[in-house]
Symmetry: C2
Subunit: 342 residues, 2 copies
């Protein structure tokens, strides 16, 4: 049995103005009818493989988490007193689970087209995790992306591989080289750990963090399906990512390669590519008329959008905000005044 641990935070400024502080990316139906969070829950809802999920989130998102997880009986929610990056969030879940439970850590704001491939990789990753490997999903890269970290695989471990090394976001030349090399995968932020093994690694590499998380759990309070870690203990933590805190320090890193139509939906460009397009490569949600357009994404919550003669442009209308950006420009959306001063 695999315990899904779903991390549900983030402000999602890069998909502004659709994604807003009050209703960020995980809770929006960006691809398909369901929200990304609902899809994440659904992927882990096979009772033959998965236990009921544990969601780690903040008070700001609790209402959305509860509403959208209502259909998944037994969902446990850990309400982080504040955001401290991924390592403490994952450690909270690990310390709430039996030491022998195998947990599968999943971001709640990614899109995965091929659920069967995801589940197959989850089973493989769980096998390795049961042997105390710290396991990353290694997403088979489909483009020389410079926005992701990479994982270089090492020797085969039967199922999966050892990790030779983790690589920070490369420049384009290196990304092209990684793609050609064939032994590099994207680090998609999906991990499998035995709970006790993860806690032990954290104690070894981030002892202060491990101690504070343990205290926060020990002094925490349960309220129905909600667990509230102690705020004072949690406040003492120096936030860090699981990559820096554990994955790059452990001697037991493993990876499971997987091609599953994954996208982090990291910006409007990625969203356009994840959605189904018409013959001209356009994708429209809402009322729109497109003339002589190709590769255009239109997303409108009401007003009609009329577009003429555009290529590779995203047009997003949401409330009192209108965003028009080249696909290349989508990387800068988070720095717009509207996105950063919500």
């Amino acid at each position: 049995m695999i315990y899904p641990v779903i991390l549900c935070g983030g402000s999602g400024t890069r998909l502004w103005p659709r994604s807003r502080k009050t209703l960020p990316k995980p809770f929006l139906p960006l691809v398909g009818e369901q929200t990304l969070f609902e899809q994440t829950l659904a992927r882990c809802a096979d009772p033959a493989l998965f236990a009921a999920p544990i969601v780690v989130t903040g008070a700001a998102h609790l209402e959305h988490v509860e509403a959208q997880s209502a259909g998944h009986a037994g969902t446990a929610i850990i309400v982080e007193p504040e955001a401290k990056n991924t390592a403490p969030a994952i450690a909270l879940a690990a310390m709430r689970l039996p030491a022998d439970a195998v947990m599968l850590v999943c971001p709640s704001d990614h899109y995965i087209a091929d659920v069967a491939a995801f589940r197959k990789a989850a089973v493989t990753a769980a096998e390795l995790a049961a042997k105390d490997f710290m396991v990353s999903f290694g997403i088979t890269p489909t483009a020389p992306e410079t926005g992701f970290g990479y994982i270089k695989r090492g020797e085969a471990l039967g199922p999966g591989f050892a990790v030779e090394r983790f690589v920070e976001k490369p420049d384009l030349a290196r990304a092209v080289q990684f793609l050609a090399d064939g032994s590099y995968s994207w680090n998609g932020g999906i991990f499998a750990f035995r709970a006790g093994a993860l806690v032990a690694e954290l104690q070894a590499h981030r002892p202060a963090m491990a101690k504070s998380v343990a205290e926060a759990v020990e002094r925490g309070t349960q309220e129905d399906h909600l667990f509230h870690p102690d705020g004072d203990a949690f406040a003492a933590i120096k936030g860090d990512s699981i990559d820096y805190a554990v994955m790059e320090n452990t001697s037991s890193a493993a990876m499971v390669p997987v091609a599953m139509g994954w996208s982090d939906i990291g910006n409007w460009h990625a969203l356009r590519d994840a959605r189904e397009a018409d013959v001209s490569g356009n994708n429209v949600r809402g009322n729109a008329e497109l003339v002589d357009c190709s590769g255009v994404l239109v997303e409108s919550d009401g007003p009609r959008v009329s577009a003429i003669g555009l290529s590779d442009i995203a047009i997003v209308v949401d409330g009192d905000e209108v965003l028009v950006t080249s696909m290349l420009g989508t990387q800068k959306v988070g720095k717009l005044g509207g996105a950063s001063n919500q």
Copy 2:
């Protein structure tokens, strides 16, 4: 004394969605603070040169005409029973004026940057019109436009020139040739006529139209400053432009060359070029943030527009409509569903 005759009709679909059936182009402050109609009135408001204006319009626009001409004492308004193109509209005014009055026919939806040059040309045109020439303003062309008719000048007439011929909208190759030739001007739809001479020419070339307009005037009714031509008589008219009905048939065509920063504001591209731009060639009206943009026009009646990485694109937000078009695409705006089904 010159009698301004201001033609105020048209639906203005090419500047949709800002220009709408209920509030079309002449009545919008598209360049500067005043509307194009107000600017047209103001250009002809010098009492040393001009008599009070006659505005020819339809019932649909009467409210806007009255509101925006309120500051011009003595304005007479002829309310056309229906639109019959420019020849009948101009003939209505001519038949309401003394035969010796020199009229200056002005569209109400063009922009003219250099008012002094306009007035100087008006005086020259009036001199020729007083000698019974049918006079066109010949706008000095600044680009090989294919959307305008051209006037080829002939022999000098002292002030102004004879017209060698009128040329229909050319293709690009011919337009380039015209520009290089130097003897071609744009036909901007601004004309000077002695009222009696215009009526005589119309009687010669469009006798049925002349007769119907005369009847419509004879049986018309005056109501304060409004004159209502008789609807039945006017309905019998086969509509035609002044160019086809008179200018291309008369043996007395003359032209006055003028460079006056003229634009017909025929589409969003023309409007962008008529407005003052910032150092990147962008022009913004309304709440907007532009990043890595050049040659971008933004016009918003409320929502904030955020734009990234765009070149030569117009973004127009008006009520429940959002238009995003390449500058080349602005020619197709009038054919959009939104523009044609208002």
